[in-house]
């Protein structure tokens, strides 16, 4: 077995409580299972879903948890069960951890792997059954140290990591770890047909990739909805949205009806999730209920997407929800024959085809990056991202 250079202590960005992250010195990761690899991280990113942890909306976080699930780097050590990787390989690591051997993995549903969450019993209490373990994303989802660090242990390294060619930069391939496949799956779940108009709630990084992917899959037009003009501008200028709606300036339902000849969008993508913002009474209602823990998630974007979607259409949910929502418009779903599809992205099945699209020049995912910081300044990155300072869209940390 190969040995990595003997670094005993590494820097890692740790969750230290609500709205507090800090780069700490923690022990180097070690091989714990024979299918593990240790990756020396070159680039790692802050994900919008990390903000749910940051804002304290995801239960079962412990002070000191190493964050981060979007990372890539160089393999420096492999367990004896890993045959497909060797020391020195440059890899991108998918955020869900999947064993490749269970029924879910066999069916290509990697993000609901039946074996990769050692804390499955906690998740079962909240979710009924357990999904896969995820790097740096609460104890309910495994208690795995994350990748906002100098090194990470990658379990099932013979299943997840994708070797990437040297001629592509980190910036071009890093987002294969999560947000590009997540946005793509959001569009794929829409089952886009010729002439379809797709509306995307949220022009964060995942929303941007959902927009771009919807076009790849044949959408006629794509409408982006957000409240930050700079994000909408990026959606129009870089991801290619045909229309944008700033919900602070206009009524979303009216605008969508106008843009779709009164039909409503054929397919709707919720790329917002549990911490949606909105207006008026329902927003205040959800904030209050969430603050009192009477609902865990604020489903404002989801409700709006369901009500807006044309009858018989599809609502695709890729924004993260953690628990329970309130005032869910089930009547609209049932009476108007809507289909809801959802899921944490099964990243493993999209990495290779999407890498090919990057190599073919169909897309350069680095367009979402607005800020680059050293790992040391992770706290500053979180602060900028959560407050949308300096038109922050995506922060990449380098080690």
């Amino acid at each position: 077995m190969a040995r990595k250079e003997s670094v005993q202590i590494m820097k890692a960005n740790c969750w230290m409580g609500k709205k507090k992250v800090q780069v700490e010195e923690v022990p180097d990761p070690k091989i714990l299972n024979s299918h593990d690899a240790i990756v020396k991280i070159s680039s790692t990113a802050i994900c919008g879903s990390d903000l749910h942890l940051y804002n304290g909306f995801v239960p079962t976080m412990e002070r000191g948890d190493v964050l981060g699930h979007e990372f890539m780097g160089e393999v420096v050590e492999v367990g004896r069960g890993v045959r497909n990787l060797k020391v020195g390989d440059r890899v991108v690591v998918p955020f869900p951890i999947a064993c490749g051997a269970c029924g879910a993995c066999e069916a290509g549903m990697f993000s609901v792997c039946e074996n990769s969450n050692p804390n499955a019993w906690i998740a079962e209490k909240l979710l009924g059954h357990s999904p896969a373990g995820i790097f740096g994303y609460s104890h309910m989802l495994g208690g795995f140290a994350g990748g906002q660090a100098e090194y990470a242990r990658v379990p099932f390294a013979d299943v997840g990591p994708l070797k990437v060619p040297e001629d592509l930069t980190d910036d071009q391939v890093l987002f294969l770890s999560d947000i590009f496949p997540t946005g793509y799956m959001g569009a794929e779940m829409c089952d886009i047909q010729r002439g379809d108009i797709v509306a995307v709630w949220g022009a964060g990084p995942v929303g941007q990739f959902a927009i771009a992917s919807a076009y790849m899959l044949g959408a006629e037009r794509v409408i982006a909805i957000d409240r930050f003009q700079y994000r909408l501008d990026m959606a129009r200028d870089r991801a290619g949205a045909s229309d944008i709606i700033n919900y602070e300036q206009m009524n979303v339902q009216d605008a969508l009806l106008e843009l779709t000849g009164g039909r409503g969008p054929d397919k709707c993508i919720d790329a917002v999730g549990m911490e949606a913002h909105g207006h008026g009474v329902t927003y205040a209602y959800d904030r209050a209920k969430q603050a009192m823990m009477l609902e865990t998630d604020r489903p404002i974007a989801l409700r709006e997407a369901i009500l807006a979607c044309r009858s018989g259409g599809v609502v695709s949910v890729i924004g993260v929800y953690g628990g329970f929502i309130d005032k869910f418009p089930m009547g609209a779903v049932m009476n108007r024959s809507l289909t809801i599809r959802a899921g944490q992205c099964h990243v493993h099945r999209y990495m290779r085809p999407l890498l090919e699209r990057i190599q073919n020049g169909e897309i350069d995912p680095s367009f979402v990056i607005t800020h680059r910081l050293p790992l040391d300044q992770a706290a500053k990155g979180f602060d900028m991202f959560v407050n949308k300072e300096d038109n922050c869209e995506k922060v990449v940390l380098s080690t």
């Binding site: 077995m1 890692a12 740790c14 923690v26 022990p27 180097d28 990761p29 070690k30 091989i31 714990l32 299972n33 024979s34 299918h35 239960p59 412990e62 002070r63 000191g64 948890d65 190493v66 367990g79 004896r80 069960g81 064993c99 051997a101 269970c102 029924g103 066999e106 039946e114 074996n115 990769s116 969450n117 050692p118 804390n119 499955a120 019993w121 209490k125 373990g133 740096g136 104890h139 495994g142 208690g143 795995f144 140290a145 994350g146 242990r153 379990p155 099932f156 603050a291 009192m292 823990m293 009477l294």
Partner: protein, 364 residues
Amino acid sequence: MTAATEQARRYDVPTGQRRFSSYPDYPTYNRRSSDQPIHGIESNVERRARGLGWFSIGLGLAQIGAPRTVARFIGIDDDEETRNTMFAIGLREITSGIGILSSRRPTSWVWSRVGGDLMDLALLGKAMNTRSNDRNRVGAATAAVAGVAILDFMTGQQLSQEGNGSSQQTGEAFQQKGAQTGGAVHVTESLTIRRPRHEVYGFWHNFENLPRFMAHLESVQVLDNRRSRWKAKAPAGATVEWEAETIEDRPNELIAWRSLPDASIPNSGSVRFKDAPGNRGTEVQVELRYDPPGGKIGALIAKLFGEEPQQQVKGDLRRFKQVMETGEIVHSDASIHRGMHPAQPPEDLSDVELLGTAREHAVQ
């Protein structure tokens, strides 16, 4: 169909059906006598138990969602430690609440509330002695908890009595074959493993493999083709040893065992193997039955320390699945420690608990 199966069909929620009636060829064992609902109609006591369940959830949510407000309300300093304690208690309350409301056996969950009350009273007693806390408020909170504790205790007792009144001892195999039933803990868990039946059966059939995935087993030594010697970890660092005999062994179908008469903790178990539909592998169903040391109180105390039998067996089965499907038990940075631990790489592999083969891989 036996009377027990009949009853399971009529009164149980679907999980009960899964455990009993969908496997009609399995021997049916009566579950814990105190857990039987008496009639289809909810009694006053059960209604009160449900009330306590909702109370638990409400209180737990408040403690997790607004720890500061709760701390102020009961007159305790709002510092990091308080918040952590509050979070833990909140989780416990929610667990009890969900347990009471969703369980086929609210009785034991109501008893878990009694245990929780005692813990809270102890914590409040400690808080009383801390100068900076508001003693009037702490006193009021203590009185309130004591009141609730009495209600919990009464409800627990009545539920237990109702259960005893209606108990039907119809279990066939194990009772006749001598395993204890009174006050015994009985657990059934199922899981599907994506491997062929003969392979799954074959691995289990060698009892010496069991400690690889059963967290509480230290070792099993096969003495001859019937008898084996088991050594297990008990709560609070003790170990127990006993000899067991295989009482039934149908290749690729069933293995059943029970402890020999002189065991300090009489226990028995069985595991069944069945093809899952659509080539999904093998359905494995485990039943365990044992008399916990210290009877019901012992079981309750064990539960307070996180040794919930149902969960243990589910955890063991999950690790069994991991071993069968992936070759080893899957570890995370947090799961290798006992209790909650930040998800950070371990400093030293010698102080962590790696079950199964992983330790051997890890230290090579």
